[in-house]
């Protein structure tokens, strides 16, 4: 229990906090310095996340002596202090956050960070909230990190301003404020009956709850479940998502693709932890399964009906959330690895898709989604204007249309789950598990799941093909001009998906280990409650 590596789990929270605060203090005129600091901080987060994943996966030496790392903040042992817990699932999501965050950050540096003030600090605080939510082992601390990421997301959603963003932002903020109040009610009720806020301690005390106390606990848990379903965009709590995501600036929408997965993570984490003491409703079982199916159906219908690519992408996020919720609802160990692979693949794909859309639609009319006022105010110029400053345009990469077309096809394959990319591997895994008649499914249920997965893929394919034809085969459009700084991150995200498909074997090994840890919650509980402080 010595050495600085024992402090690794706190770095994903502290690094963006310090970087974000430092960037606020640097003068707006020193743009390269601000950008450099932001990129370095995000790179460092990626490094720490990979290291933690290596420790959790058993590849690197563990400073905790076990796979599950527990960091007691201020050396107050659980359940009295607040703990950060790193297991395979947390580490996986940290890596995903840092990778997507880095790519969207690089993309935004091409020009989006200048469409408003304080983009870079807000972006760091968003990453801090996401990392914290994935790490924390304390219910109220989870609320605090939710608020951190939401507060940053409010600012980021409004980035660039404009009537559409403000209107969508108003609804988004109102919905999330109400959800936060429900979170507080749920957390308070659970504290009232169990006397603790530590997740592991709640799970330990759960079997002893009986009668009225158990009912009160279930009510509190259902309130929490509603909050997580709002965040995860489950039907019928998802009407805020499409307007918000489709009106957000491209890199913001790209990183928002991960935010619905925070709700999914919370449901998965608490659902598995509370399993031995009796899973409360909404954290698994029929409610989640059929809710997930309804979410898939509404998302697929929305994809077919969407007139704009932005709305199409928003509905694709809803479909991916629905698929994850349905898979969690089945409670089966067999589904978890494929479900997690689907999560990674769909986050990377939808994130790349949001940024790609902005590049594809750019030739429609430059800055149609930005107010002319904010262009003037922040010194952005039309790149087609020959009198404009050169640095805004950059070097137009050749064969831009070929790149865009290829990326679009790859996104379509990933989102609909067609071979040969990682979306297919994940969906195939889910369908194979359903065909084998895995636990928790009646024969009818497994066929319904298979039908939902295939039909949602078909709906996505129809919608994407139709929009692809409209965008790429029409003569009315000029070739958009791209910068390497914009095309590079999208290409990198898609290549990550290719790597995920090519290295599906090792990836699935890690994910199977993740599932094994998740479905043996006593390991998590014992690790948290027996942890000693750093340096003791």
């Amino acid at each position: 229990m010595s050495g600085w590596t024992a402090h690794l789990p706190v770095l994903p929270v502290v690094l963006p906090l310090i970087a974000g605060a430092a960037i606020v203090l640097i003068d707006d005129g020193k743009r390269p310095l601000r950008a450099l600091l932001a990129v370095l901080a995000t790179l460092a987060q990626l490094g720490v996340a990979l290291w933690l994943a290596g420790i959790a996966g058993g590849l690197l030496h563990s400073p905790w002596g076990s796979e599950i790392g527990v960091y007691a903040a201020g050396n107050w042992a659980a359940p009295f202090g607040i703990v950060l817990v790193v297991d395979r699932l947390s580490a996986l999501l940290l890596v995903l956050t840092a990778a997507l965050g880095l790519m969207t950050l690089l993309y935004s540096l091409a020009r989006w960070d200048r469409a408003g003030v304080n983009f870079l600090p807000l972006f760091q605080f968003l990453l801090m909230g996401l990392n914290g939510a994935f790490l924390t082992g304390d219910l109220f601390n989870l609320f605090v990190f939710f608020e951190v990421l939401l507060a940053a997301s409010y600012g980021l959603l409004l980035h660039g301003s404009g009537a559409a963003r403000v209107r969508a932002g108003l609804h988004y903020i109102a919905v999330n404020l109400v959800a936060s109040l429900l979170f507080l009610l749920g957390a308070a009720l659970i504290y009232g009956v169990t006397g603790t806020l530590n997740l592991a301690d709640i799970a330990r005390k759960l079997p002893a709850l009986t009668g009225a106390d158990r009912s009160l606990f279930d009510i509190g848990a259902v309130l929490l479940g509603i909050v997580f379903l709002v965040k995860a965009a489950a039907w019928p709590l998802n009407f805020w998502l499409t307007p918000a995501y489709s009106s957000a600036a491209a890199p913001v929408a790209g990183v928002f693709a991960l935010m619905t997965k925070v709700g999914v993570y919370a449901l998965l984490r608490m659902g598995t932890l509370f399993e031995p003491g009796g899973r409360p409703p909404l954290f698994g079982g029929d409610w989640l399964f059929y809710g997930g199916l309804a979410t898939i159906a509404t998302g697929a219908a929305g994809m077919l009906a969407a007139q704009q690519l932005g709305r199409l992408a928003g509905h694709a996020v809803i479909v991916s959330s629905g698929t994850l919720l349905a898979a969690i609802g089945l409670l089966g160990n067999q589904y978890t690895p494929s479900m997690l692979l689907y999560l990674c693949s769909s986050v990377l794909a939808t994130g790349a898709f949001f940024m790609l859309i902005e590049m594809v639609e750019r030739n429609r009319s430059y800055g149609a989604d930005l107010l002319a006022v904010s262009f003037e105010a922040f010194g952005l110029a039309d790149p087609d204007d020959p009198t404009g400053p050169d640095d805004v345009v950059g070097i137009a990469i050749p064969a831009a249309m070929a790149f865009l077309g290829l990326s679009f096809v790859m996104c379509a394959l990933l989102i609909t789950g067609l071979p040969p990319l990682s979306g297919f591997v994940a969906k195939f895994g889910l369908i194979a598990a359903a065909l084998e008649g895995a636990a928790g499914l009646t024969p009818v249920g497994s066929w319904v799941l298979i039908a939902a997965l295939l039909l949602s893929g078909l709906a996505g394919l129809i919608a994407l093909t139709r929009n692809g034809i409209r965008v790429f085969w029409s003569n009315a459009r000029s070739t958009p001009r791209l910068q390497v700084a914009e095309a590079g991150p999208v290409a990198a995200l898609l290549l990550l998906c290719v790597a995920l498909a090519a290295l599906a074997g090792p990836a699935m090994d890690y994910l199977q280990g993740t599932a094994a840890t998740l479905h043996a919650p006593e390991r998590y509980i014992n690790a948290v409650l027996q942890a000693e402080g750093v340096g003791r």
Partner: protein, 115 residues
């Protein structure tokens, strides 16, 4: 005391929900404010209601949990107040921006067909 307390929370929550469902942005923000008061009172009640008891250790008292108020809900309420205050202030800014862009204080940015 419990009955009065519960009724107070109920009345504030009811008013908050009603205001939240109104079409004007100012009504919505007042509804959110009322709801957050109700939630704060509720969290406080989860530490059990009692009077004249200290939340921190007092050397003149007997060391017995029954002699103390639960300090955790008080700390939670404090955090919730701070966060709620900040997000409400942010919502107020967005409300004003929406009013400026849309020229109306309707939550949808337009009056709609049915006034």
């Amino acid at each position: 005391m419990e009955l009065v307390y519960a009724m107070a929370i109920g009345i504030v929550t009811g008013s908050g929900v009603w205001l939240l469902l109104r079409p004007r942005t100012f009504q919505v923000i007042m509804g959110l404010a009322l709801l957050s008061y109700a939630v704060n009172l509720f969290i406080f009640a989860m530490g059990r209601l009692n009077m004249n008891q200290a939340p921190v250790l007092d050397p003149t008292r007997v060391i017995d949990v029954a002699q103390y108020a639960d300090p955790v809900p008080q700390a939670l309420v404090l955090t919730a107040i701070v966060i709620g205050f900040a997000t409400t202030a942010l919502f107020l800014v967005v409300l004003l921006a929406s009013r400026g862009f849309a020229g109306t204080d309707h939550v949808d940015g337009s009056e709609g067909e049915h006034r």
